[in-house]
């Protein structure tokens, strides 16, 4: 009884998560090795690694790998650097700080499709958009952001969404920074940059690592922003891994090739996950 009850309580969660992990993975592995097109009923014969070969030799493959990494790298860099800056900025008391914090967090709670369309139309439209108006006011020719700089535009949208997340985590972490230590360092003659570099940065090392890795997991799958704005284009200029897999699966109906691509994405994500899990695992007790 004493051992059975705790196990029974655990069972539903463990079973569902086990299924959620194993079933899709097993199916993906299987699909990736057969010829399987939703539009071509017929034999699903074993074709070995042909799906992988097809996916990897797709002319969109390398651009999509590059785009995925550029998108990831740019957003991570922007959110970490600006996030640390913002967190430091609102760390000292000033009038209305509570309200500023609440406002700063807001973009993170905006659903991705709203985020994307708001930027696409109201901000980045080359004629009626706010950015075009700013450009004209400054006497510069307005830029057609989504056609001329599609990937950069997506980076702006995604960064705008994730900056509050990074800021929030750094803010939380800064609250546990030992203020006496910082003051003592100041008394001992350490100037502001030195205090930042030798006290704040080491203190933020762990939250920065966490932000980087969590963003890695989520940003490998950026999808809604691309789906609603550029549709991966023009050409393949803003197609990332997630969008390419989506295109193979639900636009070309090629389940086999999409599955081969999905395995590729899973491997990419797991490299990040291993490190993240190690860090979190240490923190559990």
């Amino acid at each position: 009884m004493n051992r059975l009850v705790p196990r029974l309580l655990l069972a539903p969660a463990v079973t569902t998560l086990l299924l959620w992990m194993i079933v899709p993975l097993a199916m993906t592995l299987y699909f990736s090795a057969i010829r399987y097109n939703l539009m071509q009923p017929g034999e699903r014969e074993f074709i070995g690694l042909a799906n992988f070969e097809f996916f990897v030799t797709d002319p969109d493959f390398w651009p999509s790998v590059t785009n995925t990494l550029v998108l990831l790298g740019a957003v991570v860099a922007a959110t970490v650097v600006l996030g640390v800056g913002l967190a430091l900025l609102v760390n000292e008391p000033f009038p209305g700080r509570g309200l500023v914090r609440v406002l700063l967090i807001s973009p993170f709670f905006v659903m991705p499709t709203v985020n994307a369309l708001m930027w696409k139309h109201m901000m980045m439209n080359p004629i009626y958009g706010v950015l075009a108006w700013v450009a004209r006011t400054l006497g510069v020719t307005p830029v057609d952001w989504l056609s001329d700089h599609p990937l950069s535009s997506i980076i702006v949208m995604v960064s705008w969404q994730w900056l509050p997340f990074a800021t929030l985590i750094f803010m939380t972490s800064l609250q546990s920074l030992d203020r006496d230590q910082v003051e003592a360092a100041g008394m001992d003659g350490a100037n502001a940059p030195q205090r930042f570099w030798f006290l704040t940065v080491p203190h933020l090392a762990r939250p920065i690592a966490v932000v980087v890795m969590i963003e890695m997991i989520f940003l490998l799958s950026v999808f809604a922003e691309i789906f609603t704005t550029t549709g991966g284009g023009p050409g393949n200029a803003s197609t990332n891994m997630a969008f390419l897999i989506f295109k193979q699966a639900l636009m070309n109906f090629d389940v086999g090739v999409a599955s081969a691509g999905a395995l590729f994405a899973v491997v990419l994500a797991n490299v990040a996950a291993v490190f993240l899990i190690r860090m979190i695992g240490k923190n559990l007790d």
Binding site: L17, F108, F109, L117, W160, V210, I277
Partner: protein, 270 residues
């Protein structure tokens, strides 16, 4: 020190207003007419109108999608709590040598990118005739939030002093009674904040709702995506629909930001 604080405050305010400007602009645009919405230069002062909100409802049946969003997020939250709470309870109060490994393994399932599971989930939903159904969305939302929920509940339950439980056990309380009369009152806060975060995540979920649902089971995230074009040319309507889609959850989010840090970082940042 005082002038410096004021200067810092002013900078912080300016930066913040720049960052949230798109949202403020979105809110402002939703009270314009279509013509005012695309005026050049952009219009800052105008007589606000509410007619666009009514038009969004008649044209694209906002309430239908809002109901879908509400049903999927509430149902997946309740279902998630029903599965996660017993597991977290078990791990927090009946620790074994394997508890830690189990917890780490659960978190690891969250690390799988959604796109990795897209094909099998789509094929399964199609085979079961569940494409464009609320059921499929509820199941997928629940599964993808489950690890976060187990973790948040576990860390909340862990903080309840075990002495209280021992006292209750001495009095002969059974597991269920123990849960109901001793744990539940103490854990209400944890349950509430976990539920709140889960509501926010499900409400905003876009990957699965875009891929698994259409007109029938579409959520607000999918409705807004349909404004991509050519409806997107009607900015006032797009803004009004967007505002109605995000306002409730942004307000919710303000109250759950602490839990967000805990939940999304699995407690690695305190």
């Amino acid at each position: 020190m005082r002038p410096r604080a004021l200067l810092l405050g002013a900078v912080a305010w300016i930066v913040t207003l720049v960052l949230v400007f798109p949202l403020l602009w979105l809110a402002l645009t939703s009270f314009k007419t279509e013509l005012q919405a695309i005026s050049v230069p952009p219009l800052l002062f105008f007589t606000p109108t509410l007619e666009i909100f009514a038009e969004v409802q008649t044209r694209s049946d906002y309430l239908h999608y809002a109901r879908n969003s509400l049903v999927t997020s509430v149902a997946s939250t309740l279902l998630g709590l029903a599965i996660a709470a017993p597991a977290a309870y078990s791990m927090a109060f009946f620790r074994t040598r394997r508890t830690r490994d189990l917890l780490v393994w659960m978190l690891s399932t969250k690390m799988m990118p959604a796109v990795g599971a897209l094909v099998p989930v789509y094929v399964l939903a199609q085979t079961a005739g569940l494409l464009d159904s609320l059921t499929a969305l509820i199941v997928v939302f629940t599964l993808s939030n489950l690890p976060i929920m187990v973790w948040m509940l576990y860390s909340g339950f862990k903080d309840i002093p075990p002495e209280i439980l021992e006292a209750a056990r001495m009095d002969g309380a059974r597991v269920w009674g123990e849960f109901r009369h001793v744990i539940r009152p103490l854990a209400m806060g944890t349950l509430a904040s976990t539920g709140l975060l889960c509501l926010v995540l499900s409400w905003n979920e876009a990957f699965w709702s875009l891929n698994l649902s259409a007109a029938r089971a579409g959520t607000l995230a999918a409705l807004i995506a349909s404004y991509s074009s050519p409806e997107g040319l009607f900015w006032a309507k797009l803004s009004a629909a967007s505002l109605m889609a995000i306002a409730p959850i942004v307000v919710f989010g303000w109250f759950s930001q602490k839990q967000l840090v805990q939940g999304l970082t699995f407690g690695a940042v305190k």
